[in-house]
């Protein structure tokens, strides 16, 4: 009798453990409908419905994570957005009050500015001529909000607020990943490369060239150049550049076809003291594949020119486990795949 009771108790405990370990992911059809509906729901999901997050295509099931939506606070000038999860997605004009879910891409035109409120965790200002996507924006059971943005080109200013709870905030560009705990700063990516300017708090920048931390009033670029070096370069007058501002391709052309003239440069920037330069000496940036016409490097400074690649948007740092890099899959309507 005693053994029978023990067996029953063990069986009950076993069933309870098995139920607790069940996968909370909902069927795909339910996930689609909930994702479509989330574009219009209230963004303030913090502390509200604690429903487990539906499975999102490309992401593993997030147990206890609640997808959030970003609210459009203001729109100036031409701005539009597209929800990449919709099969027949089209670019829609962006309006104040719109709720933007994950996997939404926003683009702005000349003279435009868009301000997004990230629930209670901060604010993003999207400047003119910018294309940025919300790859992930969700809150887990422990109130940590995970935000992943992808900056294709242009610049944004991020103010991340961690007073309401912890944040895992990252911005990916074609050349670097920037992460922050609770801080603010400007991030830009263009043909000239990456620029990060910290306004307060601290940023961590991960690039192929290395990592660096950027504090308030400091800046860095795609080569993780220390802020002091960038400041020195900016202070010294740019009377000229080695090779007269030529790109690496032009230098090579001069070497091959110009009677060797590509060898000689002239003293002009804050670093150079010698009169003889070798090609490639100051070229420290190569554009990602696809930017065949991009310029390479500049006169010895940390910044560099480069085409950010084609619409595929090569991301240097591979995505972490379960993270979706939005621009690798995103294709504008009409361009085809």
């Amino acid at each position: 009798m005693r053994h029978a009771i023990e067996l029953v108790v063990v069986g009950i405990l076993t069933v309870a453990v098995a139920q607790a370990a069940d996968d909370p992911a909902e069927p795909q059809s339910a996930a689609n409908s909930s994702r479509a509906a989330s574009t219009k729901t209230n963004s303030n999901a913090a502390g509200a419905d604690a429903q487990p997050a539906p499975a999102v295509e490309g992401l593993p099931p997030a147990s206890g994570a609640t997808p959030l939506t970003a609210t459009v606070v203001s729109v100036e000038g031409p701005a539009s957005y597209i929800v990449t999860t919709e099969e027949a997605g089209e670019w829609q004009p962006l309006k104040t009050g719109d709720e933007l879910s994950e996997l939404t891409v926003i683009r702005t035109g000349l003279g435009a500015k868009v301000v997004l409120e990230l629930s209670d965790r901060g604010e993003i200002t999207i400047r003119n001529a910018t294309k940025v996507g919300i790859a992930s924006f969700r809150q887990d059971a422990g109130r940590q909000v995970t935000t992943r943005l992808g900056l294709k080109y242009g610049s944004i200013h991020a103010e991340v607020d961690s007073t309401q709870g912890p944040n895992d905030f990252k911005v990916r560009t074609p050349v670097a990943t920037l992460s922050v705990g609770g801080t603010g700063g400007g991030i830009g990516f263009s043909y000239r490369g990456l620029g990060l300017s910290g306004s307060h708090g601290s940023w961590q920048v991960t690039t192929p060239s290395g990592n660096t931390n950027v504090g308030a009033g400091q800046s860095t670029d795609e080569n993780a150049t220390p802020s002091g070096n960038l400041a020195n370069a900016a202070r010294n007058p740019r009377m000229g550049d080695p090779f007269g501002g030529l790109t690496q391709e032009e230098i090579d052309n001069l070497l091959l076809n110009g009677g060797g003239r590509g060898i000689f440069g002239f003293v002009g920037n804050g670093y150079a003291n010698t009169m003889l330069f070798m090609p490639g000496m100051y070229t420290n940036y190569s554009p990602p594949s696809g930017g065949s016409s991009g310029d390479n490097g500049d006169g010895g400074n940390g910044g560099g020119d480069g085409d950010g690649g084609d619409d595929g948007g090569e991301i240097v740092n591979p995505p972490g486990n379960g993270e979706r890099v939005i621009f690798n899959d995103f294709v504008s309507p009409g361009e085809g795949q």
Binding site: G109, R127, S190, Y191, L246, T247, G291, S293, D298
Partner: protein, 204 residues
């Protein structure tokens, strides 16, 4: 003994100086043609550049956000697209239909030089873009620009000095991403008077 002085033979001419009348006539005809050609060019306006592919059209009803998105992924920017970008920079939108209309519009505003030969399908060069941006933004120039007026070379130098354009020679084509970046920086400068840094923040 007297020196015998004989008058020069009037028929004598050095061999190297002898020019036949036919050759002289041909030479005079050539000179006359040359003078006439130059005269016609001056009279007809030798400064008026040629416009190739003038009826080329672009995507209709394209706002600047869509335009920049389309351009950003291109390896080169055609002169037609470049002029659309300049018109959007100045007016916010481009309602013109053909390349010729854009050229005429920008020429009337001194954005495009009257001497340029333009081609809608040809990639725009860095120098040409710099010239147009310099004119559109009404940038104050340095000594050379003041003395000689705007030129592709020195407009490029001026924009590079101000941080509006990156490094590179004037004759190289502009990539799509570079065009977006330059237009964005010019747009910010024209609205705020400040050139943004690489992070998009105003440069101190």
């Amino acid at each position: 003994m007297t020196a015998e002085i004989k008058p020069a033979d009037s028929s004598f001419t050095p061999e190297w100086f002898s020019v036949s009348s036919d050759t002289m006539k041909r030479l005079l005809k050539t000179c006359a043609r040359l003078v006439a050609t130059v005269g016609l060019m001056v009279a007809g306006g030798c400064g008026q550049g040629l416009i190739a592919n003038d009826h080329t059209t672009l995507v209709a009803n394209e706002d600047s956000a869509a335009f920049l998105d389309r351009i950003s992924s291109q390896t080169h920017v055609s002169e037609n697209d470049a002029m659309r970008g300049l018109i959007m920079l100045l007016d916010g939108s481009d309602r013109l239909e053909t390349f010729r209309q854009r050229v005429d519009e920008l020429k009337s505003r001194d954005i495009v030089s009257l001497n340029w030969n333009v081609d809608a399908a040809r990639p725009v060069t860095r120098g040409r873009l710099a010239y147009m941006i310099y004119q559109a933004a009404r940038l104050p120039g340095g000594v050379m620009l003041t003395l000689t007026g705007p030129s592709e070379r020195y407009c490029l130098r001026e924009l590079q000095y101000r941080g509006l354009m990156g490094e590179g020679a004037a004759f190289t084509p502009v990539t799509g991403l570079e065009f977006v970046g330059v237009l964005s920086a010019a747009d910010t400068y024209m609205r705020t008077g400040e050139v943004p840094d690489k992070a998009g923040e105003p440069m101190n």
